[in-house]
């Protein structure tokens, strides 16, 4: 959300698209780092519930600030490129959709490469798997968490800014995206990238079908109906194997 809004503000001030994207993602990443340094890492005796509540607090705080500084209306953002649409196999895509699809492919690829093929990425994984062992081998766990936070801020803001021309810029943009992403993960099974991707596809297709056959006003519902149905049948998700409990 922040990324989209910041990008919007910058573009409104007739700063070139490309530079706006860079500046806003950097600013959001810095904000993410600041949040981690000033709040999350300072919270003593943090249990999961208090961290969740804190995250909620941070999120409504940021939304509140944007609502005040900007306003609560939805603002259109012109697509980044001048050509309006592209035809492919007889199907027409608007240019922004192409950008979104390309960005998804590039970032999923980059992210996969970074996390699985480079040492710094593997170190980040290692920290989440076994924080104590990481410390013992000289890894600064706190710094790694900070890095993870900054990266998520960066990716989130980038997603916000490139989706903005499609979804409009608004103080509460992002909630629905986040929720649907979550629904896709539940459907696919947590900790399972393929599962999440398939879950996302299932939900996306179901959404399009439902808006075609039932009514487009209930399009947003279908993701959650599927999610709850899956939870009923197989709480661990469709594509997960049984949890391995360790002693």
């Amino acid at each position: 959300m922040l990324g989209g809004v910041l990008g919007f503000v910058l573009i409104q001030h007739s700063i070139p698209v490309f530079i706006s994207v860079i500046i806003s993602t950097i600013i959001v990443s810095i904000i993410a780092i600041l949040i981690h340094v000033t709040m999350l890492s300072k919270t003593k005796n943090a249990n999961e519930l208090s961290l969740i509540i804190m995250t909620i607090g941070i999120s409504i705080f940021l939304r509140g600030v944007v609502a005040v500084v900007l306003d609560k209306d939805a603002h259109p953002l012109t697509p980044f490129f001048n050509f309006s649409s592209v035809s492919l196999f007889g199907i027409t895509f608007s240019s922004q959709y192409i950008i979104v699809i390309c960005a998804v492919i590039i970032f999923v690829g980059l992210f996969y490469f970074y996390m699985n093929k480079t040492l710094p990425g593997k170190i980040m994984q290692a920290v989440s798997m076994n924080p104590l062992a990481s410390k013992i081998f000289g890894i600064d766990v706190n710094f790694q968490q900070l890095k993870a936070f900054a990266i998520s801020g960066f990716v989130g803001s980038l997603a916000g800014i490139i989706i903005a021309p499609i979804s409009f810029v608004q103080y509460d943009m992002g909630v629905m995206f986040g929720l649907k992403g979550f629904a896709a993960c539940v459907v696919g099974g947590f900790g399972n990238n393929t599962g999440a991707l398939v879950g996302g596809l299932i939900i996306g297709i179901a959404e399009s079908l439902s808006s075609g056959y039932i009514s487009s006003s209930y399009k947003d519902l279908i993701a959650f109906v599927i999610m709850i149905a899956v939870l009923f049948i197989k709480p661990s998700g469709l594509f997960s194997s049984e949890d391995v409990e360790r002693v």
Binding site: M129, L132, I136, G138, V244
Partner: protein, 236 residues
Amino acid sequence: MLKIENVSVYYDKAIAIDNVSIEVKYNEAVCVLGSNGAGKTTLLNAIFNVVPKLGRVVLNNIDITNTPTHKIAKMGVVYVTDKRTVFNDLNVYENLEIAAFDIIKSSGRKFFEKNLSAIFEHFGNLEEKQKLKAGYLSGGEQQMLSVAQGLIRAPKLFVMDEPTAGLSPKLMGYVFDIIAFMKKQKMTILIVEQNVNKTLMATDRAYIMEVGKIKDSGNSKDFLDSESIKKAYLGG
């Protein structure tokens, strides 16, 4: 090399270790023996600031009482915990890579690969399973991997918490061979064990711990078949 002075640890209000002092000299192998619940693991965790403590810890004349765990690691100390230090979802090679990440940064990948092949001479079965996720190794193999992860950092001081726990006799023998090898490499060793006799054979000096306190100390060889050991373990 390592001096632990009057260290105490409290859990809630109960005392887990009580005013313990231990010294490990350069190129010496020292063991701490005692039954479960004697506070051996707590003592090691206290040295490495995994749990909060009272008292003072000095490493090579540098006070590390309040040094964060990861900075102690960078001072050439390795601590192989009883919970194993493997990263389950990464393969064996990656596990060793991460254990040596700062060495790769400073001395380059070539140096790492050279060290690695030296390590694999001792851990043949790990070499075969390089591409296997560590989570799929057996308990014993994970234990060996933990030791290998420590060794690849070429530490000056090697601290181990029950490296033979849950190992079959064969692997156990292996671990003691490696300890002998480490001694030859001029590493200083601090080891906490349940496996009394072999540990005593492999080390120079021993401390006996009982319910949070050091009850006895001296040359390891003198403790073989001694009464205070029997008392600490079997209750006589």
